[in-house]
Symmetry: C2
Subunit: 482 residues, 2 copies
Amino acid sequence: MGKKDNGYVKEITSKDEDFSQWYIDIILKAELADYAPIKGCMVIRPYGFSIWENIQKLLDKRFKETGHSNAYFPLFIPERLLQKEAEHVEGFAPEVAWVTHGGRERLAERIAVRPTSETIICSMYSKWINSWRDLPVLINQWANVVRWEKSTRPFLRTAEFLWQEGHTAHVSEEEAEKETLQMLEVYRDFVETELSIPVIKGRKTEKEKFAGALRTYTIEALMSDGKALQAGTSHNLGQHFAKVFDITYLDKDGELKYVWQTSWGVSTRLIGAIIMTHGDNRGLKLPPRVAPIQVILVPITSHGNKEIILDKIREIHNELKPFYRVELDDRDEYTPGWKYNQWEMKGVPLRLELGPKDLEKNQVVLVRRDTGEKLFVEMASLKESVGELLVKIQKTMFDQAKDFVLKNTHVLSSIEELEIIMEKNKGFVKAMWCGNRNCEDIIKEKTGATIRCIPLEQENLGDKCLCCQGKANKMIYLARAY
Amino acid sequence: MGKKDNGYVKEITSKDEDFSQWYIDIILKAELADYAPIKGCMVIRPYGFSIWENIQKLLDKRFKETGHSNAYFPLFIPERLLQKEAEHVEGFAPEVAWVTHGGRERLAERIAVRPTSETIICSMYSKWINSWRDLPVLINQWANVVRWEKSTRPFLRTAEFLWQEGHTAHVSEEEAEKETLQMLEVYRDFVETELSIPVIKGRKTEKEKFAGALRTYTIEALMSDGKALQAGTSHNLGQHFAKVFDITYLDKDGELKYVWQTSWGVSTRLIGAIIMTHGDNRGLKLPPRVAPIQVILVPITSHGNKEIILDKIREIHNELKPFYRVELDDRDEYTPGWKYNQWEMKGVPLRLELGPKDLEKNQVVLVRRDTGEKLFVEMASLKESVGELLVKIQKTMFDQAKDFVLKNTHVLSSIEELEIIMEKNKGFVKAMWCGNRNCEDIIKEKTGATIRCIPLEQENLGDKCLCCQGKANKMIYLARAY
């Protein structure tokens, strides 16, 4: 454990030795987050939060381009509202934090700290929506939500987390379904393009769908320990909530009709996905598009040349700053080697070094975090080279992750094979399923794997169910999951 | 009340008749916010939230330019943490919402929903700060906070509200004071430049300072009903929290020292300030810099020319879109007059009309929301004209508001005069004060006015206290306040 290198101690556990500890070590050591003095909560530190800000910016842009506006609904939901939709309350009640006192007074009715906002939002939509002219309603909210979980892990499952939740209302089932799938595609495109994480798009089974939804769609990613992570979900809520909350509109034909609704969300969990997809034993590896620092500049000075090197590297800093997120590490108290290690731990995609020899040759050294490759680049073409390299790194990281998924996806046809594979968390399993809840339960009980999704792109792998060997026409992805 | 104009009913109360009702009417009618199904909470609707997004963008930029980073701390604070700083807990305890149950279990210790985050943040700073190398810590958080208020009003005082809270730690009192005043100046500049609201910068009295602070500074604005509004505060926390939370660092001289801290915040209350500073009997008036829509395009068509007018106005829309926040209102179901009224209610700074005569003359009509002025502008110079007008409107709105403040600021030297002025909420009063808490209490009791601040720019208005007529060397601003 821990390797001393130029004075910087890499106190992180090896990935193969203990993946969970490796994950926690990176979070603490790269200063992404820290444990808070309250059970199951975390503090997102500036470096981690900056990743979230980049995620927000890139996602919010996509939401607005698809016609959505942001709004803000209350944190608090009266108990009677939460209880209106039966499936919904059953799904969330065990995890709700309850406020019972305001100031020095006991409240007449308990108040839920929102675990999700369907109920409070529906109560408002019922007021706002009256005519077909008011539709569609396309609203998103960036917010904190609370789910009182027993077992937590930073970014993946915490009592409080940050997310966005889209809530839309439409005139028809068809339009709602189109919206549901559109937002699923927005998520896929975002996660694959900006986070370099390949995902499988698919539908959740009835058992795994959102509490109160008609249909739930998901994007599923594969972490580098072979476990799956649900990275985002999009729900067609049908008219379940509309009927309970009485959200009706007067249609053009003069009839009063219930709206069709959707909701969809991703959370700070995506930061966990980045760590577990890309990280290695040297630390975090950040995709350039969301990295808080894309290029770190490290001067290599000795007594005689300090000022001239610093002047030049400051000049480079100023030249690159308008185009990339660059930072200059000119701290005196650390050696270059120490700095290399620290910025590798923090996952900065590119390191730029400038030493006396480089200055002589009018070049800099660029080192890629993803491959370790070292490049000598002429000063004159620096700006372009950096831009091209960042694009290349983004793509290489996706390709590497995709390659990992392909290598760790197995086609199986019996539950015995599945048991063997799952004992070692060996990734995704593609198989056929009869569609029966009973088989789904048996699979989970025997192997620990769940049906991650019924992919939208179906392949025909045979006609027998993995579990009961009965007639099967659904191709599924299975895995143990976070 | 309510005037019918081309079919659009302006159901808003007149400002002179009932200012409070006028304020609420604008909020509901302009769709800024709505009441939520939970006491004292509001929903910020997309149009209102878009103003907040613009405020966030412009403020966040200023925070980052002054070296601050964003982070996120938990919503929940254990009771024992909140109680650590005596003055602080005394100030906030009456307003705290308490969580007592998680899921189906009763919690061992009550948990506060944050009313402000000093205590939870200090508990982390104590862990993160060890050496002089770790300082300064310059962190900001955008978050929701909860204060269980008895009497609430949308944007001005709600049980839950959105804000930002900066929390910094420094090596010396001097540096902390510099930061406190720097952020006060950031607020002044922001509020005056972006919101066109003139403010007075000053220090709060001991009585009015933040619970736990050494010194509190404020920017105070004057609403158009003559009441003051505290628009932002910046606190030098001294070492109060550092000592209680044991936030120490090893200084260069080898000694262990306590840090000096600051905190500072503004909230969604600023949206209330915009409404009450600029609004009139036609509705909201938005400063262009934060208006969700800066220019609304309204086509004036009749049967024969509809397509040609629509084509041209769409062309204009596309031309302006890259530079300004413009929207085209091409709804069929409303008349132009109805639309004018609606967009005036919503406070859009500029309206662009295009009718058949304008098309002939190759011009458009621009109507200013601030002055009602109508301008005929040639198509060729449209982009530039719009830009210049938006700048002009921003400035005119500030000048108008500044003029109002000057006209409603009185220099007084006796409490009897103050009583007369305050009976009608007649604005700001400048006066001299002896500095005695007793006089401060008498003033409030007799007149309802509070000392808004001791302005940083002092004027000498005499040497006798407004209240006791004793020796006075502090010039103060007084007003009734929200």
